[in-house]
């Protein structure tokens, strides 16, 4: 792949995008294995147990999304700041350090898998906290790489030009690196441990990542739909205010049942009810903009994935979240397949879609094309089928997990009173098992979607469209 015509930041972004897509594939592969182990519990038992495959599945997701975000920021950095990336060599070193660390951590997860509950295990094998199981040495490495990334971004904007997007982005990166530290220290009190752990999980996902995605969306709308910069910047500020207003204390919905004081029930319930407000704002603004701009863009796959992002975020985070967010019902649903159902649609809808859109925005530049229109030599069947299979696959998994989660909350929690008997009764109930079977079927559909997506990303735009002039872009 010839990328000599790209600027320094974009060359580094391509590296991040490649690893992101490899890890996306790994996430799906280990997701399929985990799903199979629900149906065939003896599968790879003693070799790759469910706790290992699930750990790799969810950690691969977090890390590939992080790679996608970092890649996207490097991609837009020089264009947005109108200057070369400051400390690019350090940034490249950071990429290799992070990638080496991720490789070692995954190998340790797969080959060593676990250890006794002591400091050695915590430092070198597995920290034991769901989603952020990386051992302590890797945690420190991640924070160092985030700080290098922050330096690259902030120093570049300081040397070049600041904008509304770059200001929000830079402040958000401070929180991104800082909040991760909350998940790094050890306390023997499980309530305290969970209290800080949720800072990483919730505040990363429902605050810093959302703001980062808001910045990427703002930039993406300018590129794909040629929306005026001042408009997207104004709306970015409004979005940040709405998200922080509801999202930060929405953290309370994770504090319902971990041993924190009772007032978190009220705080969590109240602010969770406010969290859909930005989504209502999004609906009004989307209708307004579609009326003004008639959705005419220069990159069809990117636009399609941006639309998928809007719907996925609305349904995954909004509808699926609110259905079980109040403590009166969350008492029965938390930690069941309900959470998995919400998690699958929300992570895919809110984050995977926007990263894929950003990669599609980058692809024509990489291939020296003007855009990706409807005049592709193959009619664009690969990206269309990938879009359909991935979205239908994830929605199907979400519905299947919803049915299993409904049964689980009903039989295990409400009827069974969260006892072991209740747990096992729920696990062998036909509704649960059939839900798992359907999840597997839709998981395979999702896997087919990612194969097509990767194939398309590797090939789209290599042959110039009939009426499209090949044009090399340097930046």
């Amino acid at each position: 792949m010839n990328i000599n015509h790209l600027n320094g930041g974009q060359k580094l972004a391509v590296k991040y995008y490649i690893v992101a897509m490899v890890l996306f594939g790994a996430q799906i592969l280990f997701g399929l294995l985990s799903g199979m182990q629900y149906l065939y519990p003896k599968l790879l038992f003693g070799i790759l147990d469910f706790n290992v495959t699930r750990t790799v599945h969810i950690n691969a997701m977090i890390v590939w999304m992080l790679y996608g975000f970092i890649g996207s920021v490097y991609w837009l950095l020089e264009e947005e700041s109108e200057t070369e990336v400051v400390g690019l060599k350090l940034g490249t070193l950071g990429f290799w350090v992070l990638t080496s660390a991720v490789t070692v951590v995954v190998l340790v997860f797969l080959l060593v898998q676990g250890g006794p509950g002591d400091d050695f295990t915590r430092w070198f094998i597995n920290e034991g906290r769901e989603y952020i199981e990386a051992p302590r040495w890797a945690d420190i490495g991640i924070v160092v790489c985030m700080l290098i990334f922050f330096y690259n971004v902030s120093a570049t904007f300081m040397k070049g030009k600041w904008s509304g997007i770059s200001g929000v982005l830079t402040l958000d990166l401070v929180a991104l690196a800082g909040i991760y530290i909350a998940g790094m220290f050890y306390t023997p009190n499980i309530s305290m441990d969970q209290y800080w752990w949720w800072w990483v999980i919730h505040l990363w996902v429902e605050a810093t990542w959302e703001v980062l995605v808001g910045c990427l969306m703002a930039w993406g709308l300018m590129k794909v739909l040629k929306v005026d910069r001042k408009i997207v910047t104004t709306w970015l500020y409004i979005e940040v205010a709405l998200m922080f207003g509801s999202g930060i204390l929405g953290l309370g919905h994770h504090y319902f049942w971990i041993g924190t004081p009772e007032y978190w029930l009220t705080i969590g319930g109240f602010f969770s009810a406010l969290e859909p407000v930005p989504l209502v704002a999004m609906v009004v603004h989307a209708v307004y903009d579609s009326g003004v701009r008639h959705m005419k863009g220069n990159n069809n796959p990117a636009l399609a994935w941006l639309i998928a992002h809007a719907f996925g975020n609305f349904f995954g985070a909004g509808v699926w979240g609110f259905m079980h967010t109040l403590p009166q019902i969350n008492l029965y649903t938390h930690g069941t397949q309900w959470s998995a159902s919400h998690g699958h649609l929300a992570f895919f809808g809110a984050y995977a879609t926007i990263i894929i859109a950003m990669i599609y925005i980058a692809v024509p530049y990489i291939r020296g094309q003007e855009g990706i229109g409807s005049n592709l030599p193959d009619g664009g069947w690969k990206w269309k089928w990938a879009l359909g299979l991935l979205n239908m696959g994830v929605v199907g998994m979400t519905i299947a997990l919803l049915i299993s989660g409904y049964e689980q909350s009903f039989i295990e929690r409400a009827v069974g009173g969260s006892t072991w008997l209740g747990y096992f009764t729920a696990q062998i109930h036909p509704w649960f098992v059939q839900g798992m079977e359907w999840r597997m079927i839709f998981g395979v559909m999702t896997a087919a979607g990612i194969v097509l997506l990767l194939w398309d990303l590797l090939t789209i735009g290599k042959e110039p469209a009939s009426n499209q002039k090949l044009q090399t872009k340097s930046s």
């Binding site: 407000v277 009326g291 008492l331």
Partner: protein, 123 residues
């Protein structure tokens, strides 16, 4: 502090919770569409959606035992969802009319729709 949902009300809670977000979005959608196209009949659909939202919120409140302090949550949801699209629409019109490139801002009136503004600006 909280009274958990009764077993027989599980589905009602899930369904009404989903309907709150869906009807809230439909209300926002029809409201914005009506203003965009200047078609008053779409506004009727918007307020029918809001009526459905109202019923969904009260259904959720009854099934999830949202009494006492929690009643305030119900009131805030109903009032908030009613006025949010109005506020966001005003922001849309305001931001777009003052930020269309270097062109001077267009004076706004209740008759102006984004399509008309766009036509005038040749977007």
């Amino acid at each position: 502090m909280i009274e958990p949902v009764e077993l027989q009300d599980f589905f009602i809670v899930f369904f009404s919770g989903a309907m709150i977000i869906m009807t809230g979005a439909l209300y926002a959608l029809f409201f914005a569409w009506s203003r965009l196209q200047a078609k008053p009949w779409l506004m009727s659909l918007a307020y029918i959606s809001y009526a459905a939202l109202f019923v969904s919120v009260l259904t959720l409140a009854a099934a999830a035992h949202l009494y006492g302090f929690w009643w305030w949550l119900v009131v805030i949801m109903l009032v908030g969802y009613l006025f949010a699209p109005h506020g966001i629409w005003k922001l849309c019109v305001g931001t777009h009319s003052t930020h269309q490139g270097d062109n001077p801002p267009i004076p706004l009136s209740s008759e102006q729709t984004p399509n008309k503004i766009a036509e005038e600006k040749g977007i």
